[in-house]
């Protein structure tokens, strides 16, 4: 199955209205799951929602929120407001997401799945230069010695609070599993050089906040689906699989899943990871190559014996100029996965 709600959303007469309308969005998510024959009702991967809701608390509206970045340490009173536990969403997309969960929860054959950006990835969106700040933290520079490092840890703190609010709300609306997306937890943001030299930067910035996310979910009996399509080193994959121990681990196309299987407990299902970000281009990714890669992935995963769900490396975004090219390849991927079933449907 692809993470394909965006493709289906854009079949609506007014996609932007549908995105912000709970009942319509719920039907889009249902339609997405049924189209690709999966019980997992995976919603839109809209990673802007938590940032919008967070910044609304200090009077920054949705139009400004996307570009907004803190450029100096945040004062205590604002920090207090941003870290408050009380759930109050200002963003229509968040309200619609929760209402869509209400709808999916009424369907007995589908599993309501929630979605949220991970704390570290959200923190990186709240400041202009998170990489340098993370690198400085990785060198042991303390928050007290650098405004950049101080801001990074403040952003991480408020990001974590925002993610927890989002999770609690989605669980209250029926989410039985939540996909946490941490695309920024990768080797562009966190130096393998530092990590391999013994720095605890990856643990402090990524693992600890996500372990707390896992605890929040576990306390409510909600499963963790962990997604990171960034470029990773083995140690990161191991940490995600073994310490976070999600029910599903979704990785980007830079990873060879059959090789990663050796790093991953058997009770963690691997999801992915066809290079769907390239599907827009027939030149870069012809349909024959999609089929070849799908066949190879399925065969290798069967050979290594690790539980696997065939899917996309990330959400499959709708691109107006390339809609047909993308859909053709998603269909080709799915046809390789289930040729008999599709054949029966075609004959029927």
């Amino acid at each position: 199955m692809p993470v394909g709600a965006d493709l289906v959303l854009n079949e609506e007469p007014d996609p932007e209205a549908a995105r912000n309308h709970g009942a319509t969005l719920g039907r889009v998510i249902e339609k997405t799951a049924r189209r690709w024959n999966t019980p997992l009702a995976i919603p839109l991967m809209d990673l802007r929602l938590e940032k919008n809701d967070l910044l609304a608390r200090i009077g920054i509206n949705r139009a400004e929120a996307e570009k907004f970045q803190f450029n100096a340490p945040i004062d205590k009173s604002r920090l207090g407001i941003l870290c408050e536990k009380r759930v109050a969403f200002a963003c229509p997309g968040s309200v619609a997401r929760d209402q869509a969960l209400d709808y999916i929860a009424t369907l007995p054959d589908l599993v309501p799945v929630g979605m949220a950006i991970g704390p570290f990835s959200l923190a990186t969106r709240l400041m202009a230069d998170p990489i340098t700040a993370a690198a400085m933290a990785g060198r042991g520079i303390a928050a007290t010695d650098s405004d950049d490092v101080e801001l990074l840890f403040q952003c991480l703190r408020i990001a974590e609070a925002a993610v927890h609010r989002s999770l609690r709300s989605q669980m209250a609306h029926g989410a039985r599993a939540i996909m946490i997306c941490e695309p920024a937890a990768n080797i562009a943001f966190l130096s393998p050089r530092q990590i391999h030299s013994g720095s605890d930067v990856f643990d402090r910035l990524v693992m600890q906040p996500n372990l707390r996310v896992k605890s929040v979910l576990a306390e409510a009996g909600c499963d963790l689906i962990f997604h990171d399509c960034g470029e990773l080193i083995d140690l990161m994959v191991e940490e995600f699989a073994q310490r976070l121990h999600p029910v599903i681990l979704s990785l980007g196309s830079s990873r060879w899943l059959w090789q990663d299987a050796r790093l991953i407990p058997k009770d963690v299902v691997l999801y992915g990871n066809l290079p769907t970000k390239s599907f827009y281009s027939d030149g870069a990714m012809p349909v024959e190559e999609v089929m070849r890669r799908t066949e190879e992935l399925l065969a290798k995963m069967k050979e290594c014996g690790h539980p696997h769900i065939l899917g996309s490396e990330c959400d499959v975004l709708y691109v107006p100029e390339a809609r047909d090219a993308i859909l053709k390849k998603v269909d080709a991927m799915m046809a390789v996965a289930a040729p008999e079933e599709l054949l029966v449907k075609a004959e029927g």
């Binding site: 570009k67 993370a134 690198a135 990785g138 943001f189 391999h196 013994g198 827009y280 281009s281």
Partner: protein
């Protein structure tokens, strides 16, 4: 090649400068030994902004020429950083730390260059295309280009084709670098190139494109002059395009 040969070690201390730079570091503009140049080189390679700033201050106090510091120590230092990146000994965070050190040194030198009427020969405009707010890749390219000795004008993110055209007309760059992270925003690259053509300024500039979903084939399709998959490659591309017109 070991992937992580000397984690977090000072790449120059203990091992000395690479031979080709050691020679440079012995001679100042006045022919004197110039330990500050060595320190400046090391500070940039090691990404130590405070040390880079201090080394430039000391060098200037000792009578070093600003352009000589840039060309003899700072540009070679960033070239060494690029080499380490290509060798997978450095990663993006190290590039940015070195870029920050370079910037810290340049802050002292830029006013002096302006005052003396000196300027970089190649001017580059960089920006993330309309509809796209991602700036990290673009920032890394800008930092590496600056480190490569080029004058960089950063237009920011969500830059419309009209803004690119206006900047080309006003600032007369030789190069325009466009970045896009999303498949949905990539088409804005073609729109920008079309806008440059319509405004009659396309032939004045070389257009380079990059970003996660961008490929050489896409660059060819939209009529760009070049594509690079990373920031270091972008520096090499600009250098090759203007070989003989050193920065």
């Amino acid at each position: 090649m070991r992937l992580f040969p000397a984690p977090e070690a000072d790449l120059t201390n203990g091992r000395g400068l690479p031979a080709r730079f050691a020679a440079i570091c012995r001679v100042s503009a006045r022919g004197e030994r110039m330990a500050e140049g060595n320190q400046l080189f090391e500070a940039i390679v090691n990404g130590n902004a405070k040390q880079a700033h201090a080394a430039v201050e000391t060098a200037l106090a000792g009578g070093a020429a600003p352009m000589a510091l840039i060309q003899q120590f700072m540009v070679p230092a960033m070239e060494e950083v690029g080499r380490l990146f290509e060798a997978e000994e450095y990663f993006v965070p190290e590039l940015l730390l070195s870029g920050r050190a370079m910037k810290s040194a340049m802050e002292l030198l830029k006013p002096l260059l302006s005052a003396s009427g000196q300027k970089m020969k190649i001017r580059v405009i960089v920006g993330t295309v309309k509809g796209d707010l991602h700036d990290i890749g673009k920032n890394i390219v800008a930092s590496m280009l600056e480190g490569g000795g080029f004058e960089v004008i950063d237009l920011g993110t969500d830059v419309s084709p009209e803004s690119f055209v206006a900047a080309v007309k006003e600032r007369s760059p030789q190069v325009v670098c466009m970045s896009a992270l999303l498949t949905v925003t990539m088409p804005a690259m073609k729109l920008t190139i079309d806008a440059l053509k319509s405004a009659g300024v396309r032939t004045q500039v070389k257009v380079l494109v990059g970003g996660a979903p961008v490929t050489q084939q896409y660059a060819n399709e939209i009529g760009a002059d070049g594509y690079s998959e990373n920031a270091n490659g972008a520096v090499g591309l600009v250098k090759n395009l203007f070989a003989g017109e050193a920065a």
